[in-house]
């Protein structure tokens, strides 16, 4: 028996892992080619994709209740508050 109600099967985990390695290779290679602000944006975007895969499959958010998922993303939302409002200061200084 390979299935468990709250844990992905080793096959799914391996596929996700392969995807993660692929994204890593993409991040590494693209950083040589795409530079500047677009390069940074791409690097961050790929990091978000990897993190989402890890959260959903490795950290099993796929099998958790809505409340647990809310807790999982709440930290990022709150972090964005300090980011946004602090940047509001730095971007608008005379």
């Amino acid at each position: 028996m390979n299935a468990h109600p709250s844990s992905p099967s080793p096959k799914v985990l391996t596929l996700v892992f392969a995807a993660l390695l692929g994204l890593l290779a993409l991040s590494a290679a693209s950083s040589r080619v795409i530079t500047g602000p677009w390069g940074s944006a791409l690097g961050l975007f790929l990091a978000v994709v990897k993190t989402t895969l890890i959260f959903v499959f490795f950290m099993r958010l796929r099998y958790q209740t809505g409340l647990v998922r809310l807790f999982a993303v709440a930290g990022f939302f709150w972090l964005s508050l300090i980011g946004l409002l602090t940047f509001a200061d730095y971007l608008t200084r005379g």
């Binding site: 508050l81 300090i82 409002l85 602090t86 200061d89």
Partner: protein, 542 residues
């Protein structure tokens, strides 16, 4: 799971085994997982830290009797107000209601046997004590002179005080806060008794929930900020260092991102206690219960968006200042809504002026004054003149001492029979409450005037024309001290000689009042099932 709280134990018939008498050994206290005992451990600890911080305040007020710096030199004065701020904020106010009353009462109030993670709860107390002892040690070997706000570059580069030690102590205590908040959040989500839906919870539970959200989301930012100061002192260079292109103001952003929500950590539990007391002693459901609950959450959420109002004159962008000013006005709205709700509850109510209610009334008056003066400070143009004056000091003492500490005292008196199983001397307690109210206003109202007239904070040498008001303030502090000392005596006396309290001496609603006083170790013999709304007092108009 069987609960056997009333087993045949060799005690007299009128004292059944309860959480306190179950085991008197030191080991059973230091290794306890009982939320009630942990609440008492915190009670003793924070009273201890409060006393030290109060002595520092007494020395400061004594110094301020005269315009010259004659009691202490400036360096010592700086270390005194730093000590006072650090101990009062992190080792008294922030833990007070959550760690003492929240720990003791919350599980009882929701029909649970304990909090979600009892061992983590005990760990939080040990972390708290470790942090506190580190801070005390830092004070004993010379202290810190930066103020509790640790502004850079003074704290990270130039100060010759024991910044690393004190910052480490606060850092460790921060983990205690986070553990407590985490525990309460999970407890409220998962351990409510059957039938106890969110909107049937007493407002104290709502306020503890909102406070816990702030505790877990804000404290980590303080932690990293303190680490960065320590890093800069250790390496000699750091992220706030202008020589590298760093910005000292970045420290202030990070620091106040925590420290502003921190003041809501301090006041929200007080608001919760006041709701409980007002409902009980006016025999009435809190007016606008749902709005009150949502307002609690709104205060917590909006409180994260206003920190820049501490930085209006810091060289922060003026546009950011305008945004922070507007948001600060906005956060006053839910607080005002709550005040209206409390007052509306009192309207045409059947009021009993017992001690807890006196404290709640005091809270209403003093919190309102404190809150209104916050609006002055939130106004950019006015704050330019009031920043770093005694007006600010009066404002936050009105809220913290006039509001929060009065709520804390009210809560202690309200739940004392539950915690100790005894009743205290009512008239002595009422006299204390009134003494505190009078002493408080004498101490801090003159400070509004002093601030308006321009007396700066954190200075012990001032122009002679301010002396009269300073003398009034110090006299008030003496009265206040008497008011705070009296409860130590009559509450202590009640433990040994006070009449025994029944389960519900106030005839209040709420699950905690269905247990014996003091409660048994596991709280409830059978998990209660809740079918009524909160504050289900009989409608007296019928």
């Amino acid at each position: 799971m069987k609960i056997d709280a009333f087993s045949s134990r060799d005690v007299s018939a009128d004292t059944p085994v309860n959480y306190f008498t179950r085991d008197y050994s030191l080991r059973s206290w230091l290794f306890t997982r009982d939320h009630k005992r942990i609440g008492l451990l915190y009670l003793i600890s924070i009273t201890f830290f409060f006393s030290i911080a109060a002595i520092a305040a007494a020395l400061m007020r004594w110094e301020l009797l005269t315009p010259q710096g004659d009691l202490v030199v400036s360096d010592i004065y700086n270390r005194l107000f730093t000590l006072h701020g650090v101990l009062m904020v992190w080792f008294f106010l922030i833990p007070s209601i959550p760690a003492v009353l929240g720990n003791f009462i919350l599980p009882l109030m929701i029909g649970a046997r304990d909090v979600a993670f009892p061992r983590l709860n005990l760990a939080s107390w040990y972390l708290f004590m470790t942090g506190g002892l580190l801070v005390l040690y830092a004070i004993l070997i010379g202290g810190v002179d930066t103020g509790w706000t640790f502004y850079t570059p003074y704290s990270s580069v130039y100060s010759n005080g024991h910044v690393m030690l004190m910052a480490s102590g606060v850092f460790i205590a921060g983990f205690s806060s986070i553990a407590t908040g985490l525990n309460f959040i999970v407890t409220l989500h998962k351990l409510r008794a059957p039938g106890l839906t969110w909107f049937r919870l007493p407002l104290f539970a709502w306020s503890i929930y909102a406070t816990s959200l702030i505790l877990v989301l804000a404290t980590p930012v303080l932690a990293i900020t303190l680490l960065l100061i320590m890093l800069e002192r250790f390496l000699g260079v750091g992220v706030f260092d202008p020589k590298l292109g760093g910005d000292p103001l970045l420290f202030q952003h990070l620091f106040w991102f925590y420290s502003h929500p921190a003041v809501y950590i301090m006041i929200l539990p007080g608001m919760g206690v006041v709701s409980e007391i007002i409902a009980c002693f006016s025999r009435k459901r809190i007016f606008g219960y749902r709005i009150a609950a949502i307002a609690i959450l709104a205060i917590a959420a909006l409180g994260f968006l206003v920190w820049g109002h501490h930085m209006f004159v810091s060289s922060q962008s003026v546009y950011a200042g305008v945004v922070f000013s507007l948001l600060s006005f906005l956060v006053s709205v839910p607080s005002a809504i709550k005040v209206f709700n409390w007052v509306a509850t009192l309207h045409r109510a059947s009021i009993r002026f017992d001690t807890p209610f006196l404290y709640a009334l005091g809270f209403l008056a003093l919190f309102t004054v404190g809150g209104l003066t916050g609006l002055f400070l939130a106004t950019l143009a006015v704050d330019v003149h009031l920043h770093d004056t005694y007006f600010v000091i009066a404002h936050f003492h009105y809220i913290m001492v006039g509001g929060m500490v009065m709520a804390y005292m009210g809560g202690i008196h309200y739940w004392w029979p539950k915690i100790s199983g005894r009743l205290y001397h009512e008239w002595l307690a009422r006299i204390s409450a009134v003494t505190i109210f009078i002493g408080f206003n004498l101490t801090f109202f003159p400070q509004f005037i002093l601030g308006y007239l321009g007396m700066p904070r954190r200075f012990h040498i001032y122009p002679p024309e301010f002396q009269t008001l300073n003398i009034v303030s110090t006299s008030g502090a003496v009265v206040l001290a008497i008011g705070y000392t009296l409860p130590l005596f009559y509450l202590g006396w009640s433990l040994f000689f006070g009449p025994r309290a029944g389960s519900n001496p106030w005839d209040a609603t709420g699950l905690e009042w269905t247990t014996p006083s003091p409660p048994a170790e596991h709280n409830f013999e059978r998990t209660p099932v809740v079918t009524q709304e909160a504050y289900d007092y009989p409608d007296l108009s019928l």
